[in-house]
Symmetry: C2
Subunit: 332 residues, 2 copies
């Protein structure tokens, strides 16, 4: 295994130590738990935004801490949900009297642990709501959206509810708008190379020399099709058709496009994919309001990328366009 | 070769098409040449900042186009210098009457082509200066700095001269401060996995299963030592000692630290490396003014990272801290 680590068992602790030392202007760590919070948390008069999940997806989750984004992150081990106590401490650390919104991906461990933490916090009188992201169209058929995994669409959720909370919106409003983001967001991924898990030295999945997995999950979960390597245009077209037909996105829609590198796929390739995405959207008379291209939610050094589309209304456009100042996501 | 491309011969053209479609708010392309410029170029009353080089280093070079950074980029083929005509057109496109500063890495093709373009522009009465970045301590011994390659230190140069030009500084001032950045900047890289060149399908270098190359260049050039894989702390210590002793950095210095992923190395690993960097700097009583960690200057999907340190004075600190709004580099 070729990785720049020390002892695998110290991985998360050393990474967090480096992160906090690197960004003391934006984040701090709770003394009790593996929880990072925005430097100035709890922010008076603002609903706290809490997220978290397994490590190995950087810049998710801790790179989104900051003004206009996320207030606290409960940090899990590599690809493992954070324990209940961490989520609970995260909630308490960012509650300033206005309550807390939990944002999480649809994974059983996260759903269970965030749910139990919510109960504990509510028992202490903290108002809590939660939003479960399930944007991955490849992970379960239409009509069974509740079984779908959450992938890079969670970035869109953080951006929108982060901006809305900064404006002073209350918890019911955040819940309503956040659910609207989830309802209007669809993603699909593709990968040709697994990541190697630093804890075990094993690949997240096995795949042939000229193969790729269409619909792959953020932890290397199987998708809908194992196929030969295709050209950028072919695979992008295939993914876009699945995404567009699922919602469905329609002529006249305005969308946010997020092209997300999963680890080792170059920006050069992401822009070649975006060229085809823009062609397809133009053909369907769907206009692009804003584009995010880069590494937003990775799977260590997995080779592949995902496409996320969110249908926007005027309110969502305003919130997407609002400034933010996260550790790894800054917008004027 | 597992890459999301179409025909290799169309790679650069398709990437540029995608890039311009993705960021119409920040960049536009000249009609005549493969040159991208800041949307509002030429900016009245401001010296133009021009850079460029081979493709495959994204977000360098075109990701640094934007306010407070770079005004024009002459785009080369994969790892190949841009032709003279492109640099010349870039200069003309951003000259608003105040002249143009060229920033380039110390590679023979770039030095030759930027030099000839400068002569052409000066013959037309455009005042031009240039700064050659040579921050890679592993590429030639101390005392022969003029033979050293330019690597991620060029990002620091763009940040500083970009901010200074935005303030309205004139060309001689930009030249003076830019040269000061180069004199105070040192870098070193390490890699354990080559990238595959999309044009040929061949790796940029060959290396054993448990080996890494210390001092590797941004195109996979050999460094100073081929060794077994070391721990993150060991390799970071080795690189830091070479960097610190070269300038040398001394007790009481204030520095910018740039930890740059070369392609497939995860942010998680970069933060583990930064943890050790911070320890070493603390031991030497060198204080960290600001930290940049992420992918700033890559070599496609090469596995590895580089460390860059710049010694800062009050003027450089102010310019590093100034806001910027580049395509892939935004700071409040």
């Amino acid at each position: 295994m070729k990785k720049f680590i020390n002892r695998p068992e110290n991985l998360i602790e050393e990474m967090l130590e480096g992160f906090v030392k690197a960004h003391p202007d934006k984040v701090r760590r709770l003394e009790t738990e593996r929880v990072l919070v925005r430097k100035d948390a709890p922010v008076k008069g603002k609903v706290g935004i809490v997220t978290g999940g397994g490590s190995g997806h950087k810049p998710a989750f801790i790179g989104y801490l900051g003004k206009g984004l996320v207030d606290a992150v409960a940090v899990g081990d590599i690809f493992a949900a954070p324990p209940v106590a961490r989520v609970y401490e995260a909630i308490k650390a960012v509650h300033s009297g206005q309550g807390v919104l939990l944002c999480l991906g649809n994974y059983s461990g996260d759903v269970m642990n965030f749910g139990m933490a919510r109960e504990l916090a509510e028992a202490e009188g903290i108002p809590v709501e939660h939003i479960i992201v399930n944007d991955d169209v490849a992970s379960s058929p239409k009509g069974r959206e509740e079984n779908r995994r959450g992938v890079a669409g969670e970035v869109v959720l953080w951006k929108v509810v982060g901006a809305l909370a900064e404006e002073g919106a209350d918890l019911p409003k955040l819940k309503e708008v956040g659910e609207r983001v989830v309802r209007n967001t669809r993603s699909m991924g593709v990968a040709h190379t697994p990541c190697i898990l630093p804890t075990t030295g094993k690949p997240s999945f096995t795949i042939g020399e000229d193969e790729m997995e269409i619909g792959v999950g953020h932890h290397g979960e199987p998708g809908i099709q194992r196929t030969r390597m295709m050209s950028a245009d072919e695979v992008t077209t295939l993914m876009m058709e699945a995404i567009l037909e699922d919602l469905p996105f329609r002529s006249g829609d305005e969308v946010l496009v997020l092209v997300n590198g999963l680890g080792s796929t170059s920006l050069l390739e992401l822009y070649i994919a975006f060229r085809r995405i823009a062609e397809i959207l133009a053909e369907r008379n769907i206009s692009i309001h804003r584009t995010y291209i880069g590494e937003f939610f990775t799977s260590l050094e997995m080779g592949g990328f995902s496409i996320t589309l969110t249908r926007l209304d005027d309110e969502l456009k305003r919130l997407i366009d609002a400034p933010c100042d996260g550790v790894h996501f800054v917008q004027h």
